[in-house]
Amino acid sequence: MSEELKKVSIVISKGSLEGIYPGLIMANGARMEGIEANLFFTFFGLDAVINKRMDKIKVATVGNPGMHMPTLLGILPGMSAMATKMMQKEMDKLDIPPVREFIEMIHDTGCEIYGCKATVEMFHLKKEDFCEQVDDIITVGQFYEMSAGGEIIFT
């Protein structure tokens, strides 16, 4: 077998359901394989670890060609909520937990969770706005330091 991957640092930069989940699944999957993992949330991706927002993550039905429906339909009230509900149902069948439970589970696997300092300052957020699993708010420089020796995945 070729050289094994030892460590990944995953950046989640988008706040939609389809923007958040791939990074969470990758982080959890890395830990399942015994690969060291860090999660770094930046820009709207921070919504996934903000207490007031993490239970309300929605699928983007506008500007999302992957939805395979006209954008004009996507703007209808309730459309995003409906698409989100449908997707959550399918995810539940695959044992993919809701965001809050997933964040707790991933943190319990030993994956460290960080917020981006620039975004926190830009959005005037405070440490208490975040769920308890957030280990620290760090700069991009610190992120690179802790990513040393591993792969960085940006989502």
Binding site: R31, G34, D95, M105
Partner: protein, 104 residues
């Protein structure tokens, strides 16, 4: 197909080192596989292994980590400290099963 010698018997394994034939597995074999992974099996380990085998018999696949931590009575943190090299891989291997096919 590779084979390894466990307790004086040649046993077939796949590229991950998991047993090819479920019938080759028994508790003594599990102890030996665990040893080769640097794990000494405790009661808690057995709880996980037995749960995994039960789910495998029922569904044909090892349980996801979520199912494992919700239903086996061993939480995520504990699971990772019992099987430090990644619970999906290690626990399934010791339980004589192939790696779980699910992503979570």
């Amino acid at each position: 197909m590779a084979t390894v010698e466990i307790l004086g018997k040649q046993i077939e394994v796949d590229s991950d080192g998991c047993l090819v034939n479920l019938s080759d597995w028994n508790k003594e074999v599990a102890v030996e596989i665990a040893k080769s992974e640097g794990i000494e099996l405790t009661e808690k380990h057995w709880q996980v292994i037995e749960f995994m085998r039960k789910v495998y018999e029922e569904t044909g696949d090892a349980p996801s980590i979520r199912k494992l931590t919700k239903q086996s009575g061993v939480d995520t943190k504990e699971l990772y400290s019992l099987f430090p090299g990644g619970p999906a891989k290690k626990a399934a291997k010791i339980a004589g099963l192939s790696k779980p096919k699910s992503c979570v």
